[in-house]
Symmetry: C2
Subunit: 320 residues, 2 copies
């Protein structure tokens, strides 16, 4: 029964899954291998701009891309709740097939578990990605230096707002749309063009831009200082955040990332970001400074710099 289900509804659509083998052979990999893993528990399963299937592909592809690795292979592991409608399942697998084709990654191994009703919520998806580093330079916050430039690849907060509005059935017009998208082409351009002057990159997922800045500050003992006026955000997202009392800097993104670049190459980096923009316009949002008291500072116009708090995760659960 299970074998037939896997064959007909999964392997037939994801043709590289070797459903009858214990492990998939990837052949010889040239270069340093990178690996990353992510489980997806987003609720609801479908939201404007994406679904748990495309999200599970983009999220893991982006984690490899942000590390400077070219994504090559994904594994796919599903936990299904008994009673999940078959048409829902099929839509999700179709979405995974389309997204992985768009990302040029092969799904090479899989696993499916079914748990009784009430023991899971619909479907949980794990994707683990394997890629190879494109250069010898490694992205790391420890590369960050004082005076480096902080930039963001496009308008922020869209994914979190899209999921939240869909979950709580809040009718905005237009509804917020997730930025979920693969970043591998754009990241690859940056990595190959800038070399070590691209200090590090990070997709601003859980905890949003603020979480990334706090991580970088913690690892460097420097301060991240940003200008509120430079943060790209759509008028619609801003309105939704105001209405819901959310700080857009703490709302999750799924196709928007931060890059930290050496001062002298910031212009070049911005040109690449603009030329390969996945969605919306990139922006320089701030600079790395010597640490005084606060690890992350925001200039909100009047009144000078203020500390930007670290986000508390539990605020927005099951966003990815």
């Amino acid at each position: 029964m299970m074998r037939q289900f896997i064959r007909d509804r999964i392997a037939a659509k994801l043709s590289d899954v070797q459903s009858h083998s214990d492990a998939a052979s990837l052949g010889t990999l040239t270069g340093e291998v990178a690996v990353t893993t992510d489980s997806f528990v987003v609720s609801p399963l479908f939201f404007p701009g994406g679904d748990i299937g495309s999200l599970a592909v983009h999220g893991t592809v982006n984690d490899l891309s942000m590390a400077g690795a070219k994504p090559l292979f994904l594994t796919l592991s599903l936990i299904l709740e008994e009673g999940l409608p078959l048409e829902t399942f099929d839509r999700i697998i179709d979405s995974i097939a389309i997204a992985s084709a768009n990302c040029d990654v092969k799904i090479v191994a899989g696993d499916t578990k079914v748990v009784p009703k009430g023991a899971a919520d619909g479907i949980f998806i794990n994707t683990t990605g394997v890629g190879v580093h494109e250069t010898l330079h490694r992205m790391s916050a420890t590369n960050i230096q004082c005076d480096d430039v902080l930039m963001v690849s496009g308008p922020i907060a869209q994914h979190g707002l899209a999921v939240l509005a869909a979950r709580e059935s809040i009718a905005f017009d237009p509804p917020p749309i997730s930025d979920s998208a693969p970043l591998h082409h754009l990241a690859s351009e940056l990595v190959r063009s800038l070399g070590p002057d691209l200090r590090t990159m990070r997709d601003a997922t859980r905890g949003g831009v603020a979480a990334v800045l706090h991580e970088w500050a913690e690892e460097t003992s420097l301060a991240m200082r940003i200008e509120q006026s430079q943060i790209p955000i759509t008028r619609e997202s801003e309105g939704v955040c105001e209405l819901l009392g959310l700080d857009p800097l703490m709302v999750a993104n799924e196709g928007t990332f931060l890059a930290c670049v050496a001062k002298d190459r910031a212009g070049e980096a911005m040109k690449i970001l603009a030329a390969h923009a996945v969605r919306g316009t990139p922006s320089v949002i701030g600079k790395v400074r010597e640490r005084q008291i606060s690890p992350v500072l925001i200039s909100r116009g009047l009144g000078g710099d203020q500390p930007l708090d670290e986000p508390i995760h539990a605020m927005l659960p099951r966003i990815c």
Copy 2:
């Protein structure tokens, strides 16, 4: 909060997890790379002979081993239900740390998601394994030839019975104990000693020995014929199966596997199995024959060969 939790309760014990990077670098891998993925949803979380943590390590290590690959790296992805007692969580992470050290694998990347109470059942674990093939020969049922010998590495049905007894709180004396164990050393010996004469191996997990034989029969269009009298099983397991009305050939194992070996090398294979036995005594259980009508046949002593049915998974849910 989450970062501190991961740092203190996971990364501190699994020191190779790079908790602040999007992807882990594995360096250069020499040889053909193998990958496998598995999610673990076993209930209860602890059972005689193991727990969800050790199981998640052994299961994935064994999938690589059965494919003829040397396990090197694991990723670890956790889905936690809000309210899971911290001491339960810590015991599981400790168990993962011990098992991965025993298996000589490094846990290189991780992910943790928390879902509200009722949206998962305690903890679900995904492990994805990366290894390198030890030889150019690839394990595959398509290698199987008529007259090949079928062997099993030790007494069967122990894992399924241990989990079932623990879940249903059935008090057997002595209680059934899971065979959960890593097979990498034993598999490696077989692979390197026998070369292409080791046609294929498979750990007899979900669906037990019967499921493996049915898969092999389907992929070869040959018949797998076994002798009931040759199947190793403890007196205790046999008694429990009789009491519960279970066919031990369909009960899951987690450290016991089937090997199919060329007739001329069967003696050598059995010597290796006996010398490196993880638990109990190996046994030749049957032969590959030309297909007549039934894909899998069992000789039960009197009355000649009978067809052995394919197991229905749903019989024993959440066994791994």
